[in-house]
Amino acid sequence: MKPSDSVNKNTAAAGEKALVVQDLVKIYKDASSPALSGLNIAVHTGEIFGLLGPNGAGKTTAISILSTLLRPTRGSVCICGIDALKHPGRVKGLIGLVPQNIALYSGLTARENLRYFGKICGLKGDALDDRVQACLELAGLGNKADQRVSTYSGGMKRRANLAVGIINNPRLLFLDEPTVGIDAQSRNMILEKLSLLKDNGTTLIYTTHYMDEAEQLCERIAIMDEGRIIAEGTPKTLIDRPPGHSSLGGLFLALTGKDLRD
């Protein structure tokens, strides 16, 4: 049985909310301003939701809270109908995380990494073998599966990073800039595979600095700044917002300004 199958099927039905975030606030100790100040998000099952924003906008804090890594100061997070703050253990079987860094053991091969994380998710025997093989093929690493990750190119590492993120066949997958610093071919492949995951019913929360990528992949986008959402909608409706913008990048700069955010 897949880990995610334990969830009430009703909650996963089309049109249901895979993620509901209400009034999420996070104030770090000794910080002058909140990292998140009243974040509200609702993401449908099977949707690809983009979270854009300049550095320091609160994207990583939001992803950390949503993926149970960090406790908010207040607010609520509901994942597939489960209160993620009250029952983080139950939610962990439903989510996957593809961090910005290559979160793999570079001394192990891709297959060994997948087998380890698969076992950690409770997969055993044939189910483990089959899932590992499926993830390797999805990432296009079938013929390099037994090479150590340290020998991989940047693109291969990113694909392996994605493969491990989906080893438990998550219902909700968080991707934190999964295409940073890779060649166009690998990037294109990753985007294709993410679309495939969406087609299979996986909900994706996607952060990126590549506006064209967000425009191409995401069904809805939220632009964050200073811990709150300042614009939300489909890429087209956002671009068409008065006075109209040539692209998502143009809108982004218009909303967040041209000052550097270091």
Partner: protein, 448 residues
């Protein structure tokens, strides 16, 4: 069951990673093995030159009579000297002896010249006759005084030289006293008889001489005073460890504690490359992951310890050191080893949690281990340290481990006698893990 499965997966993963980490393997296996070999051999040589270890003495006895035999017997009775009289079945002359001493094969050589016994006897008779104012005896040229020559290896410490020379002097004084007593017991009745006869003249009966009471010659050996050795320090060991007993557990502990460095490095790497974040979002308890890590490092340390014990039991004796004696309580040895390993892993977890970067951990870790090792009697025995350092040494986990091992190896201790050290090591493990845990959660509260 599921938790055990996930823990086993972590153990396997850690062992795989460690087996592929060449630098880590070097730190974990090669470094302590080399340290044990080098330090034991160096200390064995130092102990020899200080007379703390079994001393090899080359004896050239050209006398081959009573004096040479007595000197050999008395030196052997001391129990600390191994007497070699021939090399490869051949007698050794003075020139060859000097060559071998300079090569460091022997710490000293004693040469007893030919005719020493005869010369001693003649001189004893002369001295006694002089003291009794009896007429001098005619002497031959060969009866002149002889010198017993002692050659020392130049590296031999002054204190040891003095001790050896004093022992030899004592043996020689004993021989001389014995000879003088022999002559005295022979000449005294004759002298007294002659004096009385001279005073009493013909009134003295003829049978007087034979009625003179005899003397017990061995009364000189009866002790009137003794010196009792007592230590003022609690760190003094009644029985001192051999260089192998000192160094094998010492450097094994050093190696065990060095596991903290790769362990901390692995934890920091997991934190920085976000594998830890990934693990924390998966359906596994952090405790299972940490237990898996600890078990993996315990297994590595036990292998490391096995290697070092093998060196002490097999390799070092081949290089001329005593074999490693480990006492008669193997259970205690295993419990001490496990406690020390847990203490080391606890330190590794704390280091890996508290250090911000691998550079910090790789700087702070080894330095703190070296300091703890120096304080713990790993490099210099605690009993040889100044008082203030001895007082500080009781706070070093390496000292607890080392003291416990020496208690079993050298002083015939049991698990009961080392329970204090074991409790201290386990408490250190619990304390470090708890501090690391608190540190981790405080850090998590504000983001990883």
């Amino acid at each position: 069951m599921n938790r055990m499965y996930k823990t086993a997966a972590t153990i396997l993963k850690e062992l795989l990673l460690l087996s592929r980490d060449r630098t880590g393997l070097l730190v974990l296996f090669v470094m302590p093995a080399l340290l044990v070999l080098v330090m034991t051999l160096v200390q064995e040589n130092v102990l020899k030159t200080m007379g703390e270890s079994n001393t090899r003495l080359l004896l050239i006895d050209n006398d081959r009579q009573q004096v040479g035999q007595t000197i050999e017997k008395k030196l052997l009775e001391s129990g600390a000297i191994e007497i070699i009289k021939s090399i490869n079945g051949k007698d050794v002359d003075e020139k060859k002896a000097l060559e071998r001493i300079l090569k460091g094969d022997f710490q000293l050589c004693v040469i007893i010249p030919e005719g020493t016994t005869k010369a001693v006897k003649t001189r004893a008779r002369q001295v006694v006759r002089e003291s009794l104012a009896m007429p001098e005896m005619p002497t031959e040229g060969s009866d002149r005084e002889r010198d017993i020559t002692v050659y020392f290896d130049p590296t031999v410490f002054g204190g040891f030289r003095s001790a050896v020379l004093s022992s030899l002097e004592l043996v020689i004084v004993g021989i001389e006293l014995n000879e003088k007593m022999n002559v005295l017991s022979e000449l005294l009745p004759e002298h007294i008889n002659g004096t009385i006869r001279k005073a009493m003249g013909p009134m003295l009966p003829e049978s007087f001489v034979s009625d003179m009471p005899g003397m017990r010659l061995d009364f000189g050996r009866d002790r009137l005073l003794r010196v009792a050795e007592r230590s003022a320090s609690k760190f003094y060991l009644e029985k001192k460890p051999t260089s192998v007993q000192q160094n094998v557990p010492a450097w094994a502990l050093f190696g065990i504690f060095f596991i903290a460095v790769p362990m901390a490095g692995a934890l920091i790497k997991e934190r920085h490359d976000e594998t830890l974040a990934r693990l924390l979002t998966l359906p596994v308890s952090f405790l299972s992951v940490m237990i898996g890590k600890i078990i993996a490092y315990v297994l590595v340390c036990l292998t490391q310890l096995g290697l070092i014990v093998f060196i002490g039991k097999v390799v070092l004796p081949l290089l001329g050191t005593p074999v490693l004696e480990m006492g008669s309580d193997p259970t205690a040895v295993i419990v001490i080893a496990l406690s020390a390993i847990l203490a080391a892993t606890g330190f590794g977890i704390l280091l890996g949690t508290a250090a911000g970067t691998y550079e910090q951990a790789s700087m702070v870790g080894p330095i703190s281990i070296v300091i703890a090792a120096a304080l713990g009697g790993i490099m210099v025995p605690v009993y040889a340290m100044p008082k203030i350092m001895q007082a500080i040494s009781v706070y070093s986990p390496l000292a607890w481990g080392h003291d416990a091992f020496l208690e079993i190896f050298v002083r015939g201790g049991s698990i009961r006698t080392v329970s204090g050290d074991i409790i201290a090591l386990l408490s250190f493990f619990v304390a470090t893990v708890l501090i690391a845990w608190m540190w981790f959660f405080l850090r998590r509260r504000d983001g990883l």
